[in-house]
């Protein structure tokens, strides 16, 4: 292995890691927002909207991100909707992640015991207060491990965006292989980059998971 080449390439990887993290952060945040809204719509069975949410979730869960990205980036462009690769990547991640996050929140909401809701109602809380002070705090605690797993999943999925020419980690590795034919060096660096990004998150999540394992009141 050519260590000089590797150390010379490290700055490229750091730059690309920023891109990966940037995409992942926006993707995770927007899918949390989408997932949260979708889960609430599903939980309260709001008419019409919940059908739309259902269709969205099925579409998003049963198609691969790569195809979604190609459709957004190459397909829509020809119909007059020209989006930048960066926007497409975040849209794609949000579209994919939204449904996964929604299921995580949903599982949390369903885990809230019926007694909790009835008790809340009987002490005269309004619907809003009930949601804000009784349901959501408990639902969040239950949903945290699944949300964390989804966050890692989305961070890993960002590797696909290199296919629409965004300069993320995967792209840099491909680039180096193409230019210098240093396959092993480029890929070893790639693996280490992902390890450095993902290991701390994964360890942190294991810790959080242990903390919230006993969440869920009255079960």
């Amino acid at each position: 292995m050519d260590f000089n080449f590797m150390s010379a390439s490290i700055p490229l990887y750091i730059k690309a890691a920023k891109m990966t993290l940037d995409l992942a952060a926006w993707g995770i945040l927007s899918s949390l927002a989408i997932g949260f809204v979708c889960a609430l719509i599903g939980y309260y069975k709001i008419k019409i909207l919940d059908k739309i949410v259902q269709i969205y979730i099925e579409l998003s869960r049963n198609t691969p991100l790569l195809i979604q990205l190609f459709f957004l980036y190459y397909g829509l462009a020809k119909m007059g909707i020209k989006l930048e690769a960066y926007t497409c990547a975040i849209l794609g991640l949000a579209f994919l992640g939204g449904s996964y996050m929604s299921e995580a929140f949903r599982a949390g909401l369903e885990a809230v015991n019926k007694i909790q809701i009835e008790s809340g109602l009987s002490i005269g809380l309004t619907r809003w207060q009930l949601t804000r002070y009784v349901i959501l705090p408990q639902a969040f605690a239950v949903a945290v491990p699944a949300i964390g797993a989804n966050a890692i999943f989305l961070l890993k999925e960002t590797s696909v965006v290199s296919a629409i020419a965004l300069a993320d980690l995967m792209f840099v590795a491909k680039d180096l292989i193409g230019m210098y034919y240093k396959t092993t060096e480029a890929l070893v660096l790639l693996v280490f980059s992902y390890l450095i990004l993902l290991l701390p998150i994964s360890i942190f999540l294991t810790y959080i998971e242990r903390r919230v394992r006993h969440a869920g009141v009255g079960n």
């Binding site: 195809i67 890993k156 995967m170």
Partner: protein, 225 residues
Amino acid sequence: MQEWGISVLFEGQNLFRLVEGLSVSIRIAAVSIAFSAVCGILLGILMTSRYRLVRYGCRLYLEAIRIIPTLVWLFLFYFSLTKIMHFHLSAELASDIVFSLWGTAEMGDLVRGAITSMPKHQTDSGFAIGLTKLQVYRYIIIPQALRRLIPSAINLATRMIKTTSLVVLIGVVEVLKVGQQIIEVSILKNPTASFWVYGCIFFLYFIICYPVSLFSKKLETKWQQ
């Protein structure tokens, strides 16, 4: 004359070619699903082993597979491993191997989950009436674990089908590649071809994965006691 964009799908054998392309990814998925179903069960049983070393070894394998994105594994096997070991691996075979390894790890974790979620008294009662270890597994643990396992295993299968779309990036000619070929051929007379072709691929995946996930959801509700 400008044609209707959607007609690109029905020209010549385009639709048939797309389906044929999809069958390549499905074939990769089928091979690796079959392989991971068998090896995953073995791994899952190993993961509940009494010996700490065996458990840690399996755990290490699972975490290593999980923490690196599948696309990176594909690159490692197709480009790097072959270069280090000096042999040629076809892109499809490399995909088969990577998806089998990944599926085995994920399946193993599901199996482990199904086995450990079994109340301990089930095993104990089995031993108490004098069954051997093999019999306890055969008649008590496996039948019950299967019920918990099958819905999530089917879910894993749809995940694997979806993820095989990545193989195009290491050069397997599958549905996305065929789609690109069709678009390139018709780009001049049909400028909106890419919208329809990628839209069509999107729905092809949906048509395959949706019934499967519906089936798994049904089983789940049916078997939930």
